[in-house]
Subunit: 344 residues, 2 copies
C-alpha cells in the first residue's frame, strides 16, 4: 500500500469484494431497488419482540447471506467490522455475537459502511487478514424511538428530514487469489476529517454532512489527480436531496460539475415523492443496502467501471443537540473498480 498525496491510501493488492448481501424492510422492498435485495421482510419486527432485536437480526441475516453467497463459513473470516446508530452499537454486538468472528466495532454514524469497508480492505491489503467482512444496519422504528419521538406520537416531519432505512448490507473482502471470479476490486481508501460548519438543525443532516462529503471528495481528487468525469458513479450515502444539492453546489465553486455523476443512497432507495420520505433515506443501513445490491452488482457486471463510494455521517447525539451544539460531520471514501478495467 502506498500513501498518495495527503489523505489517500492506494492498495497494490487491490482486495476483491467476494460477495455481498442486503436485507431490507417492506418500504425499502417497494422502492426502485426492490428486486435487487437478497431478503425482504414484510413485517418490520422480523417476528422479534423489540425493534432493537429486529435490527440486530437484519445484521445477522446480511452476514449469513453474504457468507453463503461467497461459499464461506464464519471461521473463514478473520475479522468483522460492524457498526450501527443505536446507543452502544447494540445492533452490531447482539446481531453478531453468535458468529465467533473477531469483532471490531466501528462508529461513523451514516458513514459507517464506508468506514467498515475501508477497514476490511485495509486489513486484507496489509496481510492482517485474508478475508474480512463489513456490515452495518439501521431500522426506522429503533431510530425514531431513540433519536426522535415514539412512533405512536405521530409527529410531523420537516421537509428537510430524512427517513431512516430499515436495512442492512454486508460485503466480504478477500485477497484476489481467493476470489478469481470477482469483478470488484478496491483500489483506494480516503478516510475523512471531522468538519463542522455550524449547522444546528438535527432535522437537516444533509446540510450538515455536505461539507464533509465535499472535503473528502476534494482531498481524494487532489491526491489522485483525477476529476469527477473519471468516474461512472460517485455514490454518496446519505445526503438525501438537500445535501446532494449542496454538495453539487460546493463542488461547482471549485469548478467541478457532479451532475449526472453523483447519486445518493438516500435518493436511490425510495421513490422519494410517492413514498413520502421527504429529503430521502438515511441511516447506516441505507447506503449499505444500496451498495450491497445494485451498485456492487453493476460493478461486477462491468456496467459500472469506476465508482467512488462516499459514506457521510452526522456525528451528533440527541444529548448534544439538546445542549445546543452544532453537528460535526465526516465522510469516508472507498474507490471501487471493475477488475477487468485498467486502473486509473
Amino acid at each position: 500500500m502506498e500513501r498518495i498525496g495527503t489523505d489517500t491510501l492506494r492498495f497494490s493488492k487491490r482486495p476483491a469484494v467476494l460477495s455481498w448481501a442486503s436485507v431490507v424492510g417492506d418500504k425499502e422492498s417497494q422502492g426502485p431497488l426492490g428486486k435487487y435485495f437478497d431478503i425482504c421482510h414484510p413485517d418490520p419486527s422480523l417476528g422479534m419482540e423489540s425493534w432493537e432485536k429486529a435490527e440486530s437480526h437484519l445484521q445477522t441475516e446480511a452476514v449469513e447471506k453474504a457468507l453463503q453467497k461467497g461459499g464461506l463459513e464464519p471461521e473463514n473470516v478473520q475479522y468483522i467490522f460492524a457498526g450501527d446508530l443505536l446507543n452502544q452499537c447494540i445492533s452490531s454486538t447482539f446481531g453478531l455475537r453468535g458468529l465467533g468472528i473477531p469483532f471490531l466495532g466501528q462508529y461513523g454514524a451514516c458513514s459507517t459502511m464506508a468506514q467498515t469497508l475501508g477497514m476490511a480492505s485495509l486489513f486484507v491489503e496489509s496481510g492482517a487478514a485474508s478475508c474480512a467482512a463489513a456490515v452495518t444496519s439501521s431500522h426506522f422504528c429503533s431510530a425514531e424511538r431513540q433519536f426522535r419521538l415514539p412512533l405512536e406520537y405521530g409527529g410531523q416531519r420537516t421537509p428537510t428530514a430524512q427517513w431512516t432505512a430499515t436495512a442492512s448490507g454486508c460485503a466480504i473482502v478477500t485477497v484476489p487469489e481467493k476470489a478469481p471470479s470477482s469483478g470488484v476490486r478496491i483500489r483506494d481508501v480516503c478516510f475523512g476529517r471531522i468538519t463542522d460548519l455550524g449547522i444546528r438543525d438535527a432535522n437537516n443532516m444533509g446540510a450538515a454532512m455536505a461539507p464533509a462529503a465535499a472535503s473528502t471528495l476534494l482531498s481524494y481528487l487532489r491526491d489522485t489527480q483525477t476529476r469527477p468525469q473519471d468516474y461512472d458513479l460517485i455514490l454518496t450515502g446519505d445526503l438525501g436531496k438537500v445535501g446532494s444539492d449542496l454538495l453539487q453546489q460546493l463542488l461547482r465553486r471549485e469548478g467541478m460539475d457532479l451532475s449526472g455523476i453523483q447519486n445518493d443512497g438516500g435518493l436511490m432507495l425510495y421513490h422519494r415523492q410517492e413514498q413520502d420520505v421527504h429529503a430521502g433515506g438515511s441511516g447506516c443501513g441505507c447506503s449499505a443496502a444500496v451498495l450491497c445490491s445494485l451498485v456492487l452488482r453493476r460493478l461486477q457486471a462491468g456496467e459500472l467501471k469506476q465508482v467512488l463510494f462516499i459514506g457521510t455521517g452526522a456525528l451528533l447525539s440527541p444529548t448534544s443537540t439538546q445542549q445546543g451544539e452544532t453537528i460535526p460531520s465526516i465522510a469516508h471514501l472507498v474507490a471501487l473498480e471493475n477488475s477487468r478495467q485498467s486502473s486509473l
Copy 2:
C-alpha cells in the same frame, strides 16, 4: 506483519509508542497513581456547562498533551482512533473535531483503549500511517446520567458495581525511525471475539467480561506458545475485583496461575476501600489513564519488559438490559515490550 496461530498478528516493524498523556479528575488524582498523571482537574466540570462537554475536553487535553510531549503538531498525525461510552461517541467526536486529523471512531466499550491502540499500531505497521494516535475517555457524571441514575438521586451501589473513572488517556504510535529514544514497542495484537456466558446483572460487569478476557488471553498464549510467567504484567482493564478474581479462576482451570502477574486498571486507579469504589474503577478512560501514566512510564524505563494490555468491554446498553438481554463482552490484547529487550 505475520499471522501467528489463529488470532494473533505479529508486527515486524514493531511500531514505537512515541509519547502518551493522561488527564484525570480529582478522585483519580487522589488514588495511588496520582503523581503520574499529566493533568488533574479538581473541578469535575472542567469549567464546562455540561458533563458531556467536560468529558470531550478530557480527550482534547489528552491528545494535545501527548502531541506536545512527542514534539508533534496535529498535521504530523495521519489518523486518530478514538472512542468513549457516550451515546453516538460524542466525547470523541466533539473533543477531537478541532484537530483536523482524519478520524476513525471505534466502539468496544471499556476495551476501546486496547482497540484504538491496536488499530493505530496496525496502521503504522502496515505503512498506512507513519504516525497514528489512540485516545479514549470516560467521565463519572456523564456515565451515571446516561447508564444509571441522575447523580442527585443518590442511588446506592451494589458491592459488585464499578466506579466509572473521570479520565482520558492518549498514546501516539509511530515508525521506530521517528522515535529513536522511545523505549516502548508494540509486538503483537490479538483482537477478540464476542463472548456471552449469560450474565444479566448490569451491576456486575466484571463477571460478564472475565470470560472474554480469558478467551483472548488463552488464544494469545496458545498462538504465541508462551505462558503467563513470560510477562512482567498482564494488565486487564477493567475487570475490577470481581472480574479479576474470576479471570484468575478461569485460568487456573487451564492450569495457569496469574497471581502476581495480572493486575487490573480498575484496581490500580483507586484506593479501592478508602475511596469507596466498590469493585474498582471502570470506563473507557480508566485503563487508558493507567496505561498512559505508570505502565508506559515503567515500560519506557525498562522496569517492565513484557506487558500484555487486555482491554475488556461489556457490549450492552441500558436498552438491552431493559429488554432482559444478557451481556455480550469482548477483550482485545496488545503486547508491549521494552525496546531494549530481546523479543520473546
